[in-house]
């Protein structure tokens, strides 16, 4: 009897320790306090980073076309619930005007809020985590120049158990990947393309299929995927499947016109509203990356 009681107590202590260890391992990560210290932010370059990251596509008001007003409110229907993009304008009360640069950087590359909570991965920090911190700092300088908007945030409509943010630490641990997807030796142009596709442009978030928990299937990188909340699919954009020339890819990202002179539709139209602002050299870099045989 006493033996059993002792066993139970031991098991409880062990279980408790395991929980603490689990919580410790999956705690929201933060950048070191001096992570942004050695870089002088360049807001002009930040505007290019802003277009490459496509912030406006999700954070503009629904139906808005004004890429400078990031009032939020757009809904994202997923298998896990409906998420609403928050206000990330420079408003102090409703936006991110009151956040430090480090707070904003932590949100973008760690998926951690200023209050130390995990963000839901509908926010593509799983791609942004590969971005250069200097680019992130430039972006932040640009964001601070955009106007304030006082639209309040709308809570996500996500049901149990997906609404437990603590569990997202485990999700991050299991499904995020810090390293590049293509790790071959690259030319400088392919390297720039990789930065635009794998990090800033977060192309894989829509063009890569996911497992039942919403984690990306790395072995099917850019192979096309069902579009949540819609009947459609994003296309497979690996070179063997796509069969477009570099010129075709550049023209598409600039005008939305395919090699058959059909036009982009759906969400891709918003992506092109951003890519069409990038310099030709960046579009050529994206093409150079997308044509790499290593993607097949």
């Amino acid at each position: 009897m006493q033996l059993t009681r002792r066993l139970i107590v031991r098991l409880l202590i062990f279980g408790g320790l395991l929980c603490v260890l689990g919580l410790y391992l999956t705690r929201p990560q933060q950048l070191p306090a001096d992570a942004l210290a050695d870089h002088t932010p360049d807001a002009t370059h930040g505007a290019v980073v802003y277009a490459a990251m496509g912030c406006a596509s999700c954070h503009m008001a629904p139906k808005s076309e004004d890429q400078t007003v990031l009032s939020g409110g757009r809904s994202f229907v997923t298998d896990f619930g409906t998420f609403y993009a928050p206000n990330i304008s420079s408003d102090v009360d409703h936006g991110i005007g009151g956040w430090s640069d480090l707070d904003i950087a932590n949100a973008i590359v760690e998926g951690t809020s200023p209050g130390g909570q995990h963000y839901f991965p509908v926010f593509p920090y799983g791609s942004y985590l590969r971005a250069e911190l200097s680019d992130v700092a430039d972006l932040i300088a640009h964001l601070r120049q955009l106007p304030a908007d006082s639209t309040p945030n709308r809570g996500h409509d996500v049901s149990f158990p997906f609404n437990i943010r603590t569990s997202l630490g485990g999700w991050k641990l299991l499904f995020l990947r810090d390293d590049w997807i293509i790790t071959d030796t690259l030319t400088p142009q392919q390297e720039r393309g990789r930065e635009l596709v794998e990090a800033l442009g977060h192309c894989g978030e829509c063009h890569t299929p996911r497992n039942m928990f919403g984690g990306m299937k790395w072995d099917a990188w850019l192979a096309g995927a069902p579009i949540p909340g819609s009947k459609g699919r994003t296309p497979d954009i690996r070179p063997e499947k796509l069969q477009w020339s570099a010129g075709d890819i550049v023209a598409y990202l600039k005008t939305g016109l395919t090699p058959e002179y059909d036009s982009a539709g759906g969400e891709m139209v918003e992506v092109i509203a951003n890519t069409s602002q990038l310099p030709d050299s960046d579009l050529e870099a994206i093409a150079a990356y997308l044509l790499m045989p290593a993607l097949n």
Partner: protein
Amino acid sequence: MRKTLMTGLALCALSVGQLAIADNHISDKQIETAVKARKAHMQLYAFHLGTLGAMAKDEAPYDAEAAQSAADAIAALAGLPQSGYWLPGSDNGSFENTRALPAIWAEGSDVGKKAQEFSAAVMAMQTAAGSGVDGLKAAMGPLGGACSSCHKEYRQSDD
């Protein structure tokens, strides 16, 4: 030319609305023919855009005359009456062989406004196409954007 185009488009937009209200008996056969006709119309846009696009992508040498003729053809197409083949009941919810979304005919549809934006982009291309490859290149973006703007809202994504 410009005035005709604008009036044509405005009339199209109006008549789509009127057809939506006067939805009496339209046979399946009529809908099938209508869907074929509008696909053919789109295909003709693509054909002439192809001439312009090849020059914009430096795949073909710039030829002012050919470019102007392609831009004029797109403008002529845009000016054709189209209400006859945008019949109510010819959306992808009621008919199989189309990706046209019911939102085209729904209340609050801004198809007419988008048609006007398209016509503005077409006219800009008509002005630019014959007067140099740089102008042509610059006009491709807004023209492609006008195509996409309607396809984003009113066409089902691929599956």
